[in-house]
Structures are given as structure tokens and as C-alpha cells.
Subunit: 157 residues, 2 copies
Amino acid sequence: MNQTAAALDDDVIELGEMAGSLGFLLRIAQVQVFDEFYAALSVHGMKPGEFTVLWVIHLNPGLRQGTIARALHIKPAHMTKLVARLADAGYISRIIPTDDRRSVRLMLTSTGKAFVRKNRDDLINFHKAERSRLDDDEFEQFAALLRKFTGIAEARP
Amino acid sequence: MNQTAAALDDDVIELGEMAGSLGFLLRIAQVQVFDEFYAALSVHGMKPGEFTVLWVIHLNPGLRQGTIARALHIKPAHMTKLVARLADAGYISRIIPTDDRRSVRLMLTSTGKAFVRKNRDDLINFHKAERSRLDDDEFEQFAALLRKFTGIAEARP
DNA sequence: GGGAAATAGTTTCCACGTAAACTAATTTTT
DNA sequence: AAAAATTAGTTTACGTGGAAACTATTTCCC
């Protein structure tokens, strides 16, 4: 048990300035939240990105898939596959408008609507569970700083 | 140019409760920081994870690679490849101690030491660049909340 | 109006990271 | 002390997401 040198002192790691690096801290935080998401919601066989897209379509029916991709920082190539998965699963329908047949507009199917309605609470509860080490005030402050940092507007009430 | 319906109003997206989701906000924030990292440091052909590992070895010479992997939430399989890349590049050396020949302890080579010394400032400057939309107070508050959220201790002065 | 440029999405191919199975070394059990 | 269990790291096989090239459609401009 007693180590011979400081260099061999496992489990205690000096991070130095790294502990002030947002990139590093954000990555760790995201991994943790991701794990929580899977623990809470993967029952439905859905991944975070897919759920997010479904949610955005729910709130913004008829939007172009490219617009959604840009807003969520999903690359077009990936968006194509993600949309295909959601369409194959029967949650969304791809609509090609006649006035611009290059674009694809997305709508929830009735199955998709039912899914969102049914799992809305799981989503909300998941958000609450995320708070883990923070109290309510800290949580709100944290979310506000994240929104400011990312330049994302707060939800309109 | 004038859209016909609200549903077609591209570029304005309603996120609803999603704007309060840490998972969502963390992902966006991380993507942004990641992009900044590449813009600032990819000249050296090094990725964020690699740079972080190099930095941790610099501060904790002789640590086991598994210990570092756990601390940085890097999976063992990935750590093997990452360490191989850094070793191939000549930045670190893998040392198999005689008292436990299963383990691998990592040290910086002189090349690695020189690299860290030379790029330390880029790293620090990068951290400053990260602050973009936040002032100094907000930045510190943000980092503190991230540390609390992730359970990571602040750097010892 | 017809070719050039721009735009939307898709396809192909590749890199990164992971889970699962595996090898090697060490410790525990009996 | 041999067998079983544990631990450290590696290898293999695969899935996800991304860059670049491609197709289809629309807009620009001469």
C-alpha cells in the first residue's frame, strides 16, 4: 500500500492549469451527462441526438432538415443518416415541397407525436436528474452561463 | 423571400425546455470550444485529448496509463492507441516497471518536455480565447460551477 | 432563355472511439 | 505450490460521425 515515491502515487492526479480549462471541464461534464442519459432513456433505444431532433421537430414542425442541423451543430452528412433512422422508425415523415424540391421538411408522424407526448416527462425528469451536485440556484446560474457562453437564447415562456 | 407560414420561418428555431437542458447546452459548448482548439492548436497536428494527456504526464511523471485514462474518462482501448501515437511521435516513453510488469508508466521524453515547454503559452492563450462571450468574473464562476458539477478539484496554487 | 454559380441533400470513404474478447502478469485461495 | 480469480493493457470488429465528392434543383446573369 505504501508507495515508494510521489511519482507512483496513483489515484491522486495533479491537473494544474488544466483544471481551469473549459474544454477539459466541458468534456468531462458532457461524458457524465451522456452516461446519465443512457442510464435513464436508452430503454427506448434512442440516442441523445435523435431525441433532441425529435423534440425540435415537435416544437418546429415543417422545418428544413438543414436548418435543424445547423441549429444543433449536426453535420449534414450525419443529419441525413439520423433523419433516415427516425423516418425508418416511423417517428417522422420527410416532405419534399413542390416549390423547392431540393429541400426536405420534417414533420412528426402520429407515432412520433405519441412518442414525444409519452416521453416528455422522462425528458424533463432527466433534466432534473442532471442537477446532481448542484442546488437549484446553482443549476440555473450554470445553465444561464452556458447559454451565454454558447450564445443560445433562453426559452420563451 | 417572404415566407408563407410560420412553420417555414427558417433560421428562427424554438428550443423550448431544450434550452434548459444541460446535456444539450454542454454539447453545443463543447463543439464550439473544440472548433476553437483546432483553429488555435491543430498546427501542431495534435488533438485535444492528446495534448491533455501530454500535459498530465508533464505534471505527473511516471503515472500509470490506466490511472490517467480513468482520470480523464478515456477508455482503456482508446488510451492504448493514444499512447501509441504519442510514443510514435517521440513525445513520451512507456516504461514497464520490474515490480509489476503488467503496468505501463509514462514519462515525457526530452522531445516531449521541449514540446510542452514550447507550447505551454499557446495552451494558456487558448484557454483565454475560450472566454469569448464571458467576462473574467463570469468565466471564473462558470469554471467553478463546471468543477463542482463534475466533481473535479480546483488546481492547487 | 441558356449556361454558370449557388444551394440542399446524399453518398462514399475514412478516422475516432468503444465494447468485447483476449493475453500476460499478479494475487488469492485452498 | 497449483488452480482460480483479479488486474493491466492490447487486439479485433464495429458503429458513429465527418470531410469531400457527387447529384439534383434553383437562382443569377449575360
